[in-house]
């Protein structure tokens, strides 16, 4: 077998044992890896409660991993989210994914619950559980430092241990499974960290074809200003979006009451460059290197976290913002959900947190002290408890990221159709509505957006299963990656076949949601976006969303997906129709 190892490592924390299973080749061909393979593996588990010992936590690599395919040293971290109660996958780049693949496993499935805190150590010969009493309660960086030398590490912080439903799993190279609370699932298993090392590279079926496809992709990267341009992601990281989204008047400000924040320039890409003199780092295997670190090795935050601790909470103090985000990192908290929950709390109490309050509030949140008792459950539960559910700016319980949907109508639709809630990454309409890739679309129009979102969701589900970085597709396309995949695996994958696979993955997730009770009422944006205008200016008008057009496009979307008017499956035997 080329590309894959065809091996799954199953670890039972309750029993303290591990075993290796073969993955059916048919599954790999129909679900690829990463998100797709995880979706297939979850068929027997998707109705289990997130914190139940029987709920698996998966780390799933893809067929392009460890092959030198650009941006493909990634994995999907997957389980059922305690925040949204949907299946949730995070695409995470870096060494851990590479080492896991090199250890000879495509997937690690972690079941059960340890009696005492543990660290899981994975090597090519299997797995070992190490006691972690001394690490329990430690911050992320302390934990990672303690395990230094044993391989690549992922760890949770105190937030995961305390079952904060937006806790993260952080890697030793500054990446994270940051959204959806998978750190809490790991915490519920009393698993503090996983270390992995390996050296077994997968074989490539056709190295010459791989080389050609690789060169085609790099040529497209070089032609894409958003990747390699002097203002692009390689130069500034995602903070390069701060200025652009401010200019487009779609910066969520003061809990989405406004869409323009005058002090956003304080934490823009150029501001960070001036204040921190960062240099480039990034995931191994990635030529873009969009992460930035300071001279002393501290990772600088990305756009969403900066904007939400900044504009969303009406804070323009760069130092306070960076400190708050680093605190989230150390505690193992998703900075986007944390900042959004603080903003919701701010609107409820009538005053957004001050810069000085941020760090104490984050600690209170994790240890459920004072206001932390309200904050620790996320914005939806906080707003419900306060009797103001309308001030939670979330979809399916997932706090919206830093792109105001009144400034991009495809984004508005995509937040709702995303299977795990208010996330921009499922369809990534930012690409065409703002970044003009692969072609610009009218961001203030719903025309055609249902089809565009549907196609993009299918493609991105395949991308998340390869597993490649979405930023790569701001330059290259599914066309080039299909060629790369065919070269690696020796299997005749085409772009259309990848889209079919992506559609299968998306629909399976949607089916799980359907069975778990989700429907059209969960595919809805907060009322604010339909009633209140954004912050118009500089010749840009930002009206409220047109509810009738939104509903019309959502219904179109349902028809394209073969769903009924309630967003539910007409075919109640959907799973039977799948090839495997």
């Amino acid at each position: 077998m080329f590309g894959w190892h065809g091996r799954l490592l199953q670890v039972d924390l309750s029993a303290g044992r591990a075993r290796t299973e073969s993955l059916p080749e048919e599954w790999l061909h129909h679900y690829l890896g990463g998100r797709g393979l995880a979706v297939r593996l979850f068929r027997d588990f998707f109705q289990i409660e997130p914190y139940s010992p029987e709920m698996p936590l998966l780390f799933a690599t893809g067929p392009l991993g460890a092959t030198a395919a650009p941006t493909a040293e990634r994995m999907a971290v997957v389980s059922r989210s305690p925040l949204t109660r949907t299946l949730y996958d995070c695409s995470v780049g870096g060494r851990f994914a590479q080492q896991l693949k090199c250890a000879g496993f495509d997937v690690v499935q972690i079941d059960g619950r340890a009696a005492v805190p543990m660290v899981l150590a994975i090597t090519p010969s299997g797995a070992e559980l190490l006691p972690a009493d001394s690490l329990w309660g430690s911050t992320v960086s302390t934990t990672i430092a303690a395990l230094n030398g044993r391989g690549s590490v992922v760890a949770i912080g105190p937030a995961g241990e305390h079952l904060v439903p937006f806790a993260t799993i952080v890697t030793d190279d500054g990446n994270a499974a940051d959204r959806g609370g998978l750190g809490a699932v790991m915490g519920s298993k009393r698993l503090k960290a996983v270390v992995v090392s390996g050296a077994k590279l997968p074989e490539i079926a056709d190295p010459a074809r791989f080389e050609r496809a690789h060169n085609d992709i790099l040529r497209l990267f070089r032609a894409a200003p958003v990747l390699f341009g002097e203002l692009g992601l390689g130069a500034y990281g995602t903070p390069t979006l701060v200025d652009l989204l401010a200019q487009r008047r779609m910066t969520p400000t003061e809990n989405f009451c406004k869409t323009f924040f005058a002090a956003a320039a304080n934490y823009s890409g150029p501001a960070l460059r001036a204040a921190c003199t960062p240099h480039k780092v990034g995931c191994c295997g990635c030529p873009v290197q969009c992460q930035k670190v300071t001279a002393d090795g501290a990772y600088l935050p990305g756009y969403e976290a900066l904007s939400h601790f900044g504009a969303l909470n009406n804070i323009g103090d760069l130092t306070a913002i960076i400190t708050a985000i680093r605190t989230c990192h150390e505690l193992g908290l998703d900075p986007v959900s944390a900042a959004a929950t603080l903003a919701t709390w701010g609107e409820v109490r009538g005053a957004f947190p001050t810069a000085a309050e941020l760090v104490p509030l984050l600690h209170d949140l994790v240890w459920r002290r004072g206001a932390g008792e309200q904050l620790c459950a996320g914005s939806r539960q906080l707003a419900l408890a306060a009797g103001k559910p309308q001030v939670s700016m979330s979809v399916k319980g997932l706090e919206l990221p830093a792109y105001d949907p009144r400034g991009a109508y495809g984004m508005a639709l995509a937040y709702c159709t995303n299977n795990h809630g208010g996330c921009h990454l499922g369809a990534y309409p930012l690409a065409h509505e703002i970044l003009r890739k692969p072609a610009p679309t009218d961001r203030f129009s719903f025309a055609g957006k249902a089809r565009m979102i549907k196609i993009a969701e299918d493609i991105n589900a395949a991308i998340d299963s390869l597993v490649a970085c979405k930023f790569a597709f701001l330059g290259a396309g599914i066309e080039e990656y299909a060629e790369l995949l065919a070269a690696v695996t020796g299997v005749d994958f085409t772009p259309e076949r990848l889209k079919e696979i992506g559609e299968r993955i998306y629909l399976t997730e949607r089916w799980y949601n359907d069975v778990n009770g989700f429907s059209v009422i969960d595919d809805c944006l907060p009322e604010r976006f339909f009633r209140e205008a954004g912050s118009s200016g500089d010749g840009i008008e930002v009206p409220p969303l047109d509810r009738a057009r939104f509903d019309e496009e959502l219904q179109k979307y349902y028809r394209m997906r073969g769903l009924d008017a309630h967003g539910r499956f007409v075919d109640r035997n959907f799973l039977v129709s799948l090839p495997c």
Binding site: D216, R219, L220, R222, A223, A224, P225, V226, F228, G229, E230, L231, G232, Y236, T240, L241, V242, D243, L244, Q247, A265, S268, G269, P270, H432, I434, L435, R436, K437, P438, A439, P440, T441, A447, G448, A450, R451, M452, I455, A456, D458, G477, E479, A482, E483, T494, P495, E496, K499, E500, E503, K556, R559, M560
Partner: protein
């Protein structure tokens, strides 16, 4: 969506690229929408049923170069590989389908090919392209394939010669079509530099429209900028030069803002050129004859195989230097800036022409027109030599 269909079908006709009544554009929204003749729409619908894209363009070019290229190709040839930069970067190659393959199930074959490439050429039908996300993409891909086909056919005539009476007829037709030089309408040339920001935008928009009207770009692409003090005003990436309203980014020269993230992929080249020359305006287009000639080299015994990016020499077409270089961050910026100052013009191998306006936009446009006019004359001169 219907308005989008009308707009881009209208553009194909307006650009005089397609035969009258032989172009169709289709969109798969929640229902299939189609504009164009029944036979092409029907074929397009059958293809769209099989692939997961939003739009499809299918049209017969005004000049039958697709069919001529297919006839010139070896019987076992399955793809055309034009050497121009746009094809190399974005299309890779162009699958071709012969009439003999268009039996029952033609739509399945075409859909299969279009599943892996943005555009294909089909003997007796023309060019078929997809638009993954928008109707505009189908139009752009059609236009890009046409540009590649045109450049390849003209290049092949000079390198491998005329092979049939059809080629001879086409050469005569091309000579007639391109006999007269491009002339600038008065409205295109503005000899006064813009002062106010609104004037800058207005002049950029007007000059952009002129380059499209004069067919100096492909797919309405290219880029244009104006330097005003510490600011560069530049067209956005993927912007059609005939529709630049709202698509011009102001980029601070000191990079104090990243608003220019959506600026043209050639922002770096423009910046370097301004630094090297002190000019005020830059225009970059892809005029066809200049692109064709830029790829023809008289050098013999050269071991370099990647001329488009590695050629160590600076060649000249009249006074215009030709340099290698990939677009965007691929090195083009470092190659053009040092050589463009002398003549105010530079050609990038297989890609297109950069021109300067030292004081105003009109100069840049005049230079672009002059380069293409010279290249047209030179092309046909060389073709006559080749034929004799």
């Amino acid at each position: 969506m219907l308005s989008q269909l009308d707009k881009y079908l209208g553009k194909l006709h307006r650009d005089a690229l397609v035969k009258p009544q032989r172009a169709a554009l289709l969109v798969k929204d929640d229902k299939l929408l189609a504009q164009g003749p029944a036979d092409l729409s029907s074929l397009g619908a059958a293809i769209l049923e099989r692939i997961n894209v939003l739009a499809l363009a299918i049209a017969e070019p005004l000049l039958p170069l697709t069919d001529l290229l297919i006839r010139r190709a070896a019987p076992d040839c399955r793809t055309l590989v034009p050497s121009d930069t746009e094809t190399r970067t974005f299309l890779h190659d162009i699958p071709l389908v012969r009439k003999t393959e268009l039996t029952t199930g033609a739509s399945a074959l075409l859909a299969d090919l279009l599943g892996s490439r943005k555009g294909i050429i089909v003997e007796g039908v023309g060019i078929v392209t997809t638009g993954a996300m928008t109707p505009e993409m189908a139009y752009i891909n059609w236009s890009s394939v046409w540009h590649a086909v045109f450049v390849k056919y003209l290049s092949d005539l000079l390198t491998t010669g005329i092979r049939s009476p059809d080629d001879e007829l086409m050469v005569a037709a091309l000579r007639e079509q391109y006999r007269r030089p491009i002339t600038l309408a008065d409205c295109c040339v503005r000899a006064t530099p813009p002062v106010e920001r609104s004037e800058i935008y207005a002049q950029i928009e007007r000059i952009g429209r002129c380059t499209v009207d004069l067919q100096l770009v492909d797919s309405a692409f290219g880029n244009i900028s104006w330097r005003d003090g510490g600011m560069i005003y530049i067209s956005q990436t993927g912007a059609s030069l005939d529709e630049l309203a709202g698509c011009i980014d102001p980029v601070p020269c000191d990079n104090s803002s990243t608003v220019g993230l959506t600026a043209s992929s050639e922002l770096l080249a423009h910046r370097r050129i301004y630094e090297a020359t002190g000019a005020r305006a830059i225009l970059h287009g892809h005029p066809k004859f200049a692109v064709v000639l830029s790829m023809l080299c008289a050098e013999t015994g050269c071991e370099n195989i990647d001329c488009w990016k590695d050629c160590p020499r600076i060649r000249f077409l009249a006074t215009t230097p030709i340099v290698p270089g990939e677009i965007g961050a691929g090195g083009l910026a470092d190659k053009v800036a040092p050589v463009i100052g002398a003549a105010g013009t530079a050609l990038v191998y297989g890609h297109g022409v950069f021109t300067l306006g030292r004081e105003h936009f009109g100069e840049a446009l005049e230079r672009l027109v002059a380069v293409e006019n010279w290249c047209r004359q030179e092309y046909f001169r060389r073709l006559v030599v080749r034929m004799t």
